[in-house]
């Protein structure tokens, strides 16, 4: 079906492929520039300060990442508890503050819109993988 002379005309992907050989890869190499023998080992080295992480692609200005909470301004109105679609927020009755389970949070930012005191904000932190869903990093209070 294919004639040799027409091969390039019928396979328009081939010139594109050849051009790609001289282009930078589109993928951002993260977390390391070259694949380390062990990714967890590499991350441990990063936490010890022995290696540097290759930075991720920058987040946009209005990115919705891990939630931050300032208990000082909070009046304990529990509107955020009421509006949270994922039921990720609970009211701590003793202190009249809230506790947010980030492992359950769906990052919709509805509570930050709702908060009358502006105590809730979305940060740009997104590296939230953890082995324990109730670890200190994943509970905001």
């Amino acid at each position: 079906m294919l004639e040799c002379g027409d091969a390039m005309a019928n396979l328009p992907m081939i010139p594109e492929l050849l051009k790609q050989l001289f282009r930078q890869p589109a993928t951002n190499t993260f977390p390391a520039k070259y694949l380390p023998p062990s990714v967890t080992g590499f991350l441990k080295m990063v936490s010890r300060g022995e290696a540097a992480i290759h930075p991720p692609v920058a987040t946009p200005p209005e990115f919705r990442g891990k939630i931050t909470y300032e208990p000082e301004g909070c009046i304990g109105c529990s509107l955020c508890v009421k509006i949270c679609p994922a039921h990720a927020i609970e009211l701590v009755n003793e202190t009249k503050t809230i506790r947010i389970y980030v492992s359950q949070c769906i990052f919709c930012s509805q509570c930050t819109d709702m908060c009358p005191k502006g105590s809730l904000k979305m940060s740009d932190e997104f590296l939230l993988a953890d082995e324990d869903r109730y670890s200190d990093n994943l509970i905001v209070e």
Partner: protein
């Protein structure tokens, strides 16, 4: 294959699924094969029921909007928009005009990324992974722009009952135009690579044909219907959001190829041309978008209070990248809806698999199955679990059950 003398008799049965590398989502196919040819095809969805509607009945519409974002990972705004429109009709909310335009812009960006995702997937099903990588690389431009406008790549969370949650600011315009120019420059290349390629032509031309009559009879929607020559598009037929003000013409394959065959190739053509069309719609929106509010009511407690006064039922429709989505909502003066039904676009399109697949070769199953852009986890609404027995529910039985349920709800 356990009965009689196995493997010796024709026709024999080939099961594909529920989990299979050729299928991107779980669905169970049963093919009766004669050699390499499919004699009869049958399928059983219902493997990914998640009970989203059940969750919705316990939440108020503001919360459900975020739930609808998650019905489908690709149609992040389609379900939210259809749901919000249903609730807005019940509550008789007039959405600010600017919000309507922003909704249309986000919906069109979603169409661009969804069609490119599908095109890459189609290439992958053909075994053409180089093209998959190229298509998904160019898709990132749309994803980045969506991320800039809404905050996140998927699950945009931009829709609110009565408007949108984020405005498009003037400093975002250059980035949007840069993205649109990128796709304008790319369009020729994409069409050339997909449509002039000998491999793609050989695999897709006259493969998986859905005739116009079948498309109408089986109520297919969206690009699947348009590729068979059915001139339908919810944006044109029943305009909503800003689409009534815009100049849109449904894309049919004969516009580009001069004829309509209703095969897999036509479905590629329609989707690729719609990428260009969507970019054009966004341009129109940006040009004529009025200034003003983006929300009917900015104070969320007031919206919540308004839900308690809402009585009635409504249907919200939207032309999602895969076709029409439909949300039925009923509110009875409570914060949460009394009834919420979702009809995803794939629900209407799945039945078209049967005429497409019958008579085709076994090797063409992956591309034909993928050609309607099926989204099964969006589609699965029901799972009947009753003592492990299997049975088929007829149309009459389903009708009887839904009448019973409606009576129960009205009590």
């Amino acid at each position: 294959m356990s009965d009689g003398n196995p493997a010796k008799t024709t026709p024999y049965t080939v099961p594909i699924g529920p989990i299979h590398p050729a299928l991107k989502e779980p669905v169970m196919f049963t093919f009766r094969m004669n050699g390499e040819q499919i004699e009869k095809a049958d399928f059983a969805p219902g493997q990914t029921h998640r009970g989203i509607e059940w969750m919705g009945m316990r939440r108020n519409p503001i919360q459900i909007v975020h739930l609808t974002d998650r019905i489908c990972g690709i149609c992040g705004v389609s379900h939210s928009l259809a749901f919000a429109r249903a609730v807005e009709q019940i509550m008789e909310i007039d959405v600010p005009e600017r919000a309507d335009y922003i909704r249309a812009i986000i919906a069109e960006f979603e169409r661009i990324q969804s069609h490119l995702l599908w095109a890459g997937m189609a290439a992958h099903e053909l075994g053409f992974d180089t093209l998959l990588h190229l298509t998904w690389r160019v898709r990132e431009q749309a994803m980045d722009t969506i991320e800039l406008l809404t905050g996140n790549r998927v699950n945009y969370g931009i829709i609110q009952i009565g408007g949108v949650r984020r405005d498009i600011t003037p400093d975002q315009h250059p980035a949007i135009h840069e993205c649109l120019d990128y796709y304008r420059d790319l369009q020729g290349k994409l069409l050339r690579i997909f449509l002039e390629d000998a491999t793609i032509q050989m695999r897709c031309r006259d493969c998986g044909i859905l005739t116009r009559d079948d498309a109408l009879r089986l109520c297919t929607v969206g690009p699947t219907a348009r590729a068979s020559g059915v001139n339908m598009d919810v944006r044109v037929d029943f305009p909503y959001a800003a689409y009534g003000d815009l100049d849109i013409e449904p894309i049919l394959p004969d516009r580009y190829l001069g004829e309509t065959r209703g095969d897999v190739f036509d479905r590629i053509v329609v989707r690729l041309l719609e990428v260009e069309q969507s970019a054009g719609i966004i341009r129109q929106c940006l040009d004529v978008m009025p200034a003003g509010d983006i929300l009917w009511e900015t104070k969320i407690p007031k919206i919540l209070a308004a839900f308690k006064k809402a009585h009635g039922e409504a249907v919200g429709r939207h032309e999602a990248p895969r076709g029409e989505v439909l949300h039925y909502v009923r509110m009875d003066g409570k914060e949460h809806p009394t009834a919420w039904k979702v009809k995803a676009s794939s629900y209407s399109n799945l039945m078209s698999w049967i005429p497409m697949l019958e008579g085709e070769q076994i090797a063409d199953i992956p591309i034909i199955v993928a050609s309607i852009d099926p989204c099964l986890s969006c589609t699965d609404r029901v799972a009947v679990v009753r003592g492990g027995r299997r049975s088929i529910m007829t149309k009459e039985e389903l009708h009887r059950l839904s009448v019973e349920k409606t009576r129960r709800l009205m009590r």
